[in-house]
């Protein structure tokens, strides 16, 4: 339990100057990292070292550093958000690594998520999917009282399970096909489980799937890897629901 010191680590990291440049791996040595340090703090330390050496620091996305904003990404040693379960990269700690290890860090890889710089990718494809239907069409004001429509405990809980998605993109990054089905299905399920969202559920499913396809995500082949690597444990049962919603949307026309 007590923190140990990792004497030396090799960080093999993807460096790419900008979207157009050709990237490559660079390796850096870093020493004396406490196992109580978070993974991103380790990168901070490495960056500080790089700055002192006059090298441009490694660019990576991060913000809240408490696992909720969904900004941090990183494919670490072959896994989205690294070698621990149910967490984001910012919650990963160095106690998950052995002294002397070589840690490989890559950006999310997907055609729909082009690299902007180093480990930063452009995830606006997700926003475009949301803009195509991830909402309930209601204006501010003129809505009924919060208790006017009762919602069963189970429905509210199930909606919340899906709504917990932080939109980080780990599902796309993990999926061997770069499919965005887990993300889209979570958004569709969250609203489909609530009476307020039911009203336009079919339209929503159709539009969001059409947008998702248009943006070049791959197809879901039900490997279930997304569900395992999702930091919020979003279930692929949501994908089944999306399939159902989409199917019924098509039948209804």
């Amino acid at each position: 339990m007590a923190d140990k010191i990792l004497k030396e680590l090799t960080i093999k990291v993807w460096r790419q100057k900008n979207a157009k440049a050709k990237g490559k791996f660079e390796s850096y040595k870093i020493s004396d990292i406490s196992t109580g340090t978070s993974f991103l703090e380790m990168l901070d330390i490495l960056n500080e070292q790089l700055i002192n050496d006059g090298i441009e620091p490694i660019a990576f996305d991060h913000d809240c550093r408490e696992g909720i904003c969904g900004m941090c990404s990183l494919f670490i040693d072959g896994r989205a958000h690294g070698p621990d379960d149910d967490i984001t990269t910012c919650q990963l700690h160095m106690r998950k690594f052995e002294d002397g290890a070589t840690i490989t860090i890559e950006p999310w890889r997907a055609g729909a998520f082009p690299v902007i710089k180093d480990l930063i990718v452009d995830r606006t494809a997700f926003e475009k999917v949301l803009q195509s239907g991830g909402y309930i069409s209601v204006n501010t004001g003129g809505v009924p009282d919060g208790n006017a429509i009762p919602i069963s405990y189970d429905d509210a809980e199930e909606a919340m399970d899906a709504a917990a998605c932080i939109g980080c993109g780990a599902c796309v990054a993990t999926c061997k096909n770069s499919s965005a089905m887990l993300f889209v299905s979570a958004k569709v399920s969250h609203l489909a489980k609530l009476p307020q969202g039911r009203v336009e559920a079919t339209r929503r499913a159709k539009n969001m799937v059409a947008k998702m396809d248009e943006l070049g995500f791959g197809n879901c082949t039900n490997t279930g890897a997304c569900e395992v690597e999702c930091p919020k444990g979003i279930s692929i049962a949501n994908i089944a629901r999306l399939n159902r919603e989409f199917l019924s949307a098509t039948i209804k026309g």
């Binding site: 896994r79 770069s178 499919s179 059409a210 690597e229 399939n243």
Partner: protein
């Protein structure tokens, strides 16, 4: 409707429906083959084979079956090509072993190998029996293939391999088909996966036992 069929979910639906159709066919095929185990004279099997050669089956059902195969294959190729394109740059290191099963990740490869097996299988039996039409004792033809000296052992091995490949393909394909048509949730997913494994093992075991039985005991 055309937009539905070109959508990712639509394509998956077609994969799943054609897959389910082929799953039913595999079961029928297995039942028919099992006649070889239960009737040493081969009469039962020959009767079954004869039934399958009736014009209504040959010209009515076989094209449907072939269509099922062809659609399943064409869509598999389309989807796989699209999936390849969705990740132009691959990872240097990717570790999927703890997040998904091997068979689920290799359905295309498994399917391709099963297809190769089927091609061989068609050459062995379908062509002489149904195309050339010069076989009188179908059961004897089958037995001969698996007992014919050292080649008998090779064919037995190939057929066992084919059965195992098919089993892996079905282990993922069966429950996946239900997931794709939307018939799954947290509870049913677990049940379907169990049924899926059971069915896959049943089919693989069934198709394994028959050539082994013929090779060693016929």
């Amino acid at each position: 409707m055309s937009s539905f069929l070109s959508s990712s979910i639509g394509k998956k639906l077609i994969m799943s429906l054609s897959g389910l159709f082929l799953i039913v066919f595999v079961l029928v095929h297995l039942i028919l083959n099992s006649f070889l185990l239960f009737d040493k004279t081969g009469e039962l099997f020959n009767a079954g084979a004869h039934f399958m050669s009736l014009p209504i089956i040959r010209f009515g059902l076989q094209p449907v079956l072939a269509g099922g195969f062809i659609i399943h294959i064409i869509y598999a190729i389309t989807l796989t090509l699209q999936n390849q394109k969705a990740r132009p740059q691959k990872y240097a290191v990717q570790n999927l072993s703890n997040s998904s099963t091997w068979s689920s990740r290799n359905m295309f490869v498994l399917g391709g190998l099963v297809l190769v097996f089927i091609a061989m299988h068609l050459l062995h039996f379908f062509v002489p029996i149904q195309i050339e039409g010069n076989v009188h004792d179908d059961a004897q033809l089958v037995k001969a293939l698996f007992t014919n000296g050292s080649m008998g052992l090779v064919y037995t091995g190939l057929y066992v391999l084919g059965a195992i490949l098919l089993g892996f393909h079905l282990a993922h394909g069966f429950w996946s088909a239900f997931q794709s048509i939307g018939f799954s949730n947290k509870i049913w997913k677990k049940r379907l996966e169990k049924v899926s494994y059971f069915y896959a093992i049943f089919v693989a075991a069934g198709f394994t036992i028959i050539p082994l039985y013929l090779h060693f005991f016929a």
